[in-house]
Subunit: 337 residues, 2 copies
């Protein structure tokens, strides 16, 4: 991975603050679930705070354990960091840990934190800020193989599908790496580029930098963004698609969703429409692009009806169809292993 | 036009410096050609410098004439502003004129210029920096009508086609405004948004802000960017297309061009492919979108063969086909006037 990607220092201390609501700590939960081997521990400021299943650890314990980064694993409602959180972040920075966050407030805009970072010689990493020096896409073919997750909408499992694909590929003995294109994904992977924060001209160039040349049998499993039919974010999906040059893609969908979330005037595209449009656009940089499976979040379906639902979709599109967190993704991967 | 667009103060003093090569002064030439009524004069540091056909004027004459902005109308090779230019820019800033440029070096990074601007109470406007507060696209239908110029490639006449369409629409008694999405266009129009400099998530939102609600018979003629088949810039074209919600589009092409300029491994798409893909993508936010004409730069064709060339294209696609700078665009507009 070249130097136009964000690179995080591991292992992590995952900071939960005093956040009790698990849904607001889902970034931290994602890191703990998908990369437990990168997590030295969690830091909670209150015993009632969300438990990510990691060892509780103080800043000084983390420093002794050689932690590289304190990861802010919670969403912050409102702009600024609460005072009782800030003191801990400063303590960690002064102890030499990089501070990593995806907040709207820039970490470097907080003077106290900046001073602590200077003292500790660490970095303040705003995960929303892309690394400098991203080039315009060249369109040149790269070696190695690539799979991209795409979607009928935002927020329906493109990241977790990609992570499960990576896990299952490795279990099948394949050489594979998850490539993160969004904030939480970058924290999980320890590197990546926040594609939606890149300046327009460089979207596809960022996607190229995210999955550079690799050995012929290696698979990059690239986290998708948005949807090619999304009235707000389709341009990001388009740029990521042609820059990724995927050989294969998996369409992600949430069972029961009928409209673009937050854009209720827009009906959700069908899975078939997404397949057709993705092939049409992706063929520009990789004429061999093809859909290899469908990944559905079936949470909204009664457990005893899921199998039938997935089988019906699989038959309709003549493609393997999985719920990655229920069935895994091996049904998609068997032709490749 | 709302406050998320860049707005320039007029009239202009167009600065040419000592640039003798007309091709390097083409921004200034564009402003002088398309908006002579906005130009108070030109400022040349050498009698051999390119002549834009405007009255020569010193800074103090310009100040007396009530000039609002000094526009740097030349491309700068290399990063920084030559010393003999800087002195004049500082003089204008100190006299209260906004300084407007599209250089890679940020104007505000030049201390001497910053001090002069503080003294004159003027703004230093880097046209590459989008205005703050651009929202994510809502996808909501807006009132008024819109025409977008699209292309088979970059740099083949999308801006000048849009400007000629505006000119011809007005001549036909139609209510029309050119909407600028690039640097030179913004200087010409006096307002706009540099779409390719906007952060990815906001491309389509910027396009929405660029052509806000208007009266039912009003036409926004929107300057296109890139090409939907461009391996580097297609995402920009896609975002601009769905945010613009055009009712009509004109495909721009350069006669004789066979490959994407600078990406020689990529064959140029056909005009037919561009029409089909633009309709497919644009229909998301405006199902009535349709191609209304073809605009070709025929410079590479002998003058006495142009008419036949355009007629053949017109017959092939069953659409009016013009060279905007040779024939004008009224053949395209007659069904609308």
């Amino acid at each position: 991975m070249d130097n136009s990607t964000t690179q995080l220092r591991t292992p992590y201390l995952v900071f939960v603050g005093d956040e009790c609501r698990t849904t607001y700590a889902k970034t931290g939960k994602g890191v703990a679930d998908w990369r437990p081997e990168l997590c030295a521990g969690q830091l909670r400021l209150d015993t009632a705070a969300a438990d990510l299943g990691l060892a509780d650890m103080t800043v000084s314990e983390a420093a002794q354990a050689g932690v590289g980064s304190l990861i802010v694993g919670t969403a912050l409602v409102g702009g600024s960091i609460p005072d009782n959180w800030l003191a801990t972040l400063c303590e960690a920075a002064a102890a030499g840990m990089d501070i990593v966050a995806g907040l709207h407030t820039r970490l470097s805009s907080i003077e106290q934190l900046r001073e602590a970072a200077d003292m500790g010689g660490c970095r303040l990493i705003d995960i929303r800020i892309p690394p400098p020096g991203i080039p315009v896409a060249s369109g040149k073919k790269r070696s190695g193989k690539r799979l991209l997750t795409v979607g009928t909408d935002c927020a329906l499992g493109k990241k977790y599908t990609a992570l499960q694909l990576e896990r299952d590929m490795r279990a099948l003995g394949m050489d594979a790496d998850f490539r993160a294109s969004g904030q939480t994904g970058i924290m999980i992977a320890g590197s990546g580029i926040p594609i939606d924060c890149v300046v327009a001209d460089f979207i596809s160039g960022a996607a190229e930098a995210l999955s550079p040349d690799n050995s012929p049998d290696h698979w990059d499993v690239i986290e998708g963004q948005g949807s090619i039919f999304h009235p707000g974010y389709a341009a990001v999906s388009h740029g990521l698609l042609i820059g990724s040059q995927p050989d294969a893609f998996v369409v992600c969908h949430a069972a029961g969703r009928t409209h673009i979330e937050g854009w209720e005037a827009y009906a959700l595209p069908t899975i078939g429409e997404v397949i057709e449009r993705t092939v049409a656009i992706g063929a520009l940089t990789n004429p061999l692009i093809r859909c290899v499976g469908i990944s559905v979040n079936t949470l909204s379906i009664p457990a005893d009806e899921r199998e039938e639902y997935l089988a019906a979709l699989s038959s309709k599109y003549d493609l393997p169809c999985v719920d990655p967190l229920v069935t895994g993704t091996k049904a998609i991967l068997s032709p490749f292993a």
